[in-house]
């Protein structure tokens, strides 16, 4: 093979207590598609951000075209011909599509005249290339998630980069859009562009990648040509053990219906006509592709975006939920998806985080009792095996998995009847993940109705008693957890078959 156009040696990077990268080496040659694979939180996005200069590595060397790059910034990376599509779109919601695209295409010359017509045409062309039907003059704010993703892709294509990084570009795209995109990638490869491609969809990797590097817990566990590896061995590399026995088995028999939704909807969040029941002691999994509306549904149940149609009943009684406070009073708990923004308050101590949802019960008369709180926190730290240097440690000093446990503890403290978990193990390392699974099982056994949203298919399949699959803001199928297989879930999620009922 030819000389690598990009070479990383022994890159390390930590965020506070989290060691995201523990010495990763990686290389990319011109005209190849190098896939990067790993579980959630393995460090893929962090590695990408090191390459684009968004993060400064703690140690390690970066070489581009054989030259060592000392201090890489997004601007200098841009000059070196590195472009990236980030996992979270880095777009400006107040600016138009054409403008967003132009901002990264035009060299950052300060006093340059902007040719709006040219920009418009250029945006039009690029969007056509990825097959997106988007008005270049629309404000990005008004676009849907997949549309924003397409804009990101168009933006990266336009730079004419020699090194193109794509971090889960297809996560929210439909099948045809994905095929179109893969075509574009092949095109670029023949033009000699080096592409780093991240995806959780293994079939895509086999379709287009030349080599694949697997990351696990911030370390590289091997680079292999795709031709010499199969799906099973890839998964084994990712997870570090056989996949089979990691989910604790279900032991309980579901009891009475706790919560029941009838035709629930909320126009502003795009959820409509959702109906299902969840029983005490049951884990109800919610599957679907990103953007299917699962989080939105949870937010309706929790009163953040109150429902404007349909009915929620709890233990047979119809209830209205207008705010999170009311939801909490009804015994509904929600462990949100975005841990760092919603789940825990990073600057506050673990103990304070844990008691936040139970202020009125725990502190009668609103008086804080620090001793009681600390003892309380200690019990949860012990019960959930949270690794922290004490109840006073700020939430931000913990690793993702432990933060998740703190968020969980907060809601367990409310003694809820219904527990909604949104991506409970996203970005959580393997050890903590199975601990969280055990905790969830135990809670269900204690008689909670658990709704578990997850994009991790094995997790859904392994944990759920029943699985609801969502697509386009509504439930398209409810499957039995014991009989469901990846194929049937994906089929429902992609909308290929309708109304499979358990």
């Amino acid at each position: 093979m030819d000389k690598p156009i990009l070479q990383l040696t022994d890159i390390r990077k930590s965020f506070l207590a989290v060691r995201a990268l523990k010495g990763v080496s990686f290389d990319l040659t011109a005209g190849e598609v190098h896939a990067l694979l790993g579980e959630n939180g393995a460090g893929k996005s962090t590695l990408i951000k090191v390459i684009t200069g968004a993060h400064q590595p703690d140690t390690g060397a970066i070489q581009v075209n054989g030259n060592i790059v000392e201090k890489l910034t997004p601007a200098s990376a841009h000059k070196l011909g590195i472009a990236a599509i980030y996992q979270q779109p880095a777009l400006f919601p107040d600016l138009s599509v054409a403008e967003n695209i132009a901002l990264s295409l035009e060299p950052p010359k300060t006093f340059r005249r902007i040719r709006w017509n040219a920009r418009h045409d250029q945006a039009r062309q690029l969007l056509d290339r990825v097959g997106a039907k988007i008005d270049p003059d629309a404000e990005v704010r008004s676009l849907s998630m997949p549309e924003q993703q397409l804009v990101e892709i168009a933006k990266a294509l336009g730079t004419g980069a020699r090194i193109l990084i794509m971090d889960e570009p297809t996560a929210s795209l439909t099948h045809t859009e994905v095929q179109l995109l893969l075509g574009v990638v092949r095109d670029l490869r023949t033009q000699g562009v080096g592409i780093i491609y991240i995806s959780h969809r293994l079939e895509e990797i086999f379709q287009i990648a030349d080599r694949v590097t697997v990351l696990r817990d911030g370390e590289s566990v091997g680079t292999n040509p795709v031709s010499k590896i199969n799906e099973a061995s890839l998964i084994k590399l990712m997870v570090g053990r056989e996949v089979a026995s990691i989910y604790p088995p279900s032991e309980t028999q579901p009891r009475d219906v706790v919560v029941s939704l009838k035709n629930l909807g909320c126009a502003s969040s795009g959820v409509r006509g959702v109906s299902f029941d969840v029983r005490a002691g049951e884990i109800f999994g919610l599957a679907g592709l990103v953007g299917a509306g699962r989080t939105e549904l949870a937010r309706i149940l929790f009163g953040i975006t109150p429902a404007d149609g349909g009915e929620i009943s709890l233990n047979g009684k119809a209830i209205q939920i207008h705010s999170p406070r009311e939801a909490v009073e009804h015994g509904i708990a929600y462990v949100p998806e975005d841990r760092r923004r919603h789940g825990v308050i990073l600057e506050m101590s673990i103990a304070a985080n844990m008691t936040m949802a139970i202020h009125p019960q725990f502190f009668p008369g609103a008086w804080l009792r620090f001793g009681k709180e600390e003892a309380f926190a200690q019990t949860y730290i012990r019960d959930l095996q949270i690794k922290a240097f004490g109840p006073e440690a700020p939430g931000g000093s913990l690793s993702g998995g432990n933060q998740q446990k703190v968020a969980l503890a907060r809601w367990l403290a409310t003694k809820p009847k219904v527990l909604i978990l949104d991506e409970p193990t996203q970005g959580v390392d393997v050890g903590a993940k199975s601990e969280i699974h055990k905790i969830i099982r135990r809670l269900a056994a204690q008689g909670l109705a658990v709704i578990m949203i997850s994009s991790d298919l094995p997790e859904i399949l392994g944990m759920s008693d029943r699985i609801g699959v969502m697509r386009g803001g509504t439930v398209t199928g409810i499957l039995d957890g014991k009989t469901a297989d990846p194929h049937s879930v994906m089929a429902a999620a992609l909308g290929q078959t309708e109304g499979i009922n358990a």
Binding site: H78, F92, D94, L95, E106, I114, S268
Partner: protein, 309 residues
């Protein structure tokens, strides 16, 4: 159309005010007083352009009033010493840039909150000036007034210069990359860093720029009368911020444009003389100004709320 809702509604409010004046008190429309009114507002327009930039970049500068006074007095003293006008002019701008750069360094370099930084520099500069001058006026040589032009010529010069600056800046914000950088940084500093913009440099520049404009405005002010009062510019920051906000620039950054600022500024500037013409007692003025500001932000709030639900 929807995109410019705010600008248009301010313009309509201004239109209504002007219409009411045309019907009720046509005496409002006399060329000379109107020209004088615009001339008096010329420095404010210039500073408002800078303030709009700073606020679009999601910062704020409440020290402009003090900067304005410092520039005025320093330039006045130099002029009184007999320095040639162009040099006085440049040094006024230079002092402004200097003060703006200090603010900018503290905000962008040290990442300190701009509202507190500029609060501190506002107090320090103002009190320093008071200490140095003890309220004494600076008397200027006659050559300074109207930059040596005739009065009407000078007035036209100041008005056209300030409006021209506003127009140029409004187009620059739309047509120059630099303008778009400001919007991008104000919308999302992290995202703009990822697209290769240097947010800190942009922030610093907006502060230095507003300083320069303040220096320019100070010159435009001292050209209007033969004396400089060290107290001048007191309360100017609130006036300018109010105009910018009424004109539809979002205090949370990234949104708004200079046309709206222009309309907002004219609206607020017209209120006081309009009340004089309507023979409303002066003690209502502050309450009415406050009411206009609140009305503007409330309609905005109601509108965004409606959009959300």
């Amino acid at each position: 159309m929807k995109k410019y809702f705010r600008e248009i509604s301010v313009a309509i409010a201004l239109g209504i005010l002007l219409l009411v004046m045309a019907i009720v008190a046509p005496g409002f429309y006399q060329p000379q007083p109107l020209l004088s009114l615009l001339t008096r507002e010329a420095p404010t327009i210039v500073i408002a352009c800078g303030m709009a930039l700073v606020i679009i970049a999601r910062q704020i500068d409440i020290s402009v009033g003090s900067q304005f006074a410092v520039c005025s007095v320093c330039a006045g003293l130099l002029a009184a010493k007999g320095w040639p006008l162009p040099i006085v002019f440049l040094s006024s701008v230079f002092f402004g840039v200097l003060m703006g750069a200090v603010n900018g360094w503290l905000v962008a370099g040290l990442k300190l909150p701009s509202i507190v930084v500029t609060l501190a520099t506002m107090v320090t500069l103002r009190q320093g000036l008071n200490m140095a001058r003890q309220g004494e006026f600076v008397n200027l040589p006659d050559t300074v007034q109207w930059f040596g032009l005739s009065q009407v010529g000078g007035q036209w010069l100041l008005v056209t210069a300030s409006v021209a600056l506003l127009v140029v800046m409004a187009f620059a914000m739309k047509l120059l990359s630099a303008g778009r950088f400001v919007y991008a940084v104000g919308t999302d500093a992290e995202a703009s860093r990822l697209s290769g913009i240097r947010p800190q440099l942009v922030t610093f520049s907006t502060f230095a720029f507003i300083g320069a404009l303040t220096g320019l405005a100070a010159m435009m002010n001292i050209a209007q009368s033969p004396q400089v009062q060290p107290l001048s510019g007191t309360g100017l920051e609130l006036k300018v911020i109010a105009a910018v906000v009424v004109g539809g620039v979002a205090i949370s950054g990234g949104r708004g444009n200079l046309w709206g600022v222009f309309a907002g500024l004219l609206l607020l500037a017209c209120v006081s003389p309009a009340l004089t013409h309507l023979h409303v007692e002066a003690y209502w003025e502050k309450a009415i100004q406050g009411g206009i500001i609140l009305l503007a932000v409330v309609t905005d709030g109601l509108r965004t709320r409606k959009q959300k639900t």
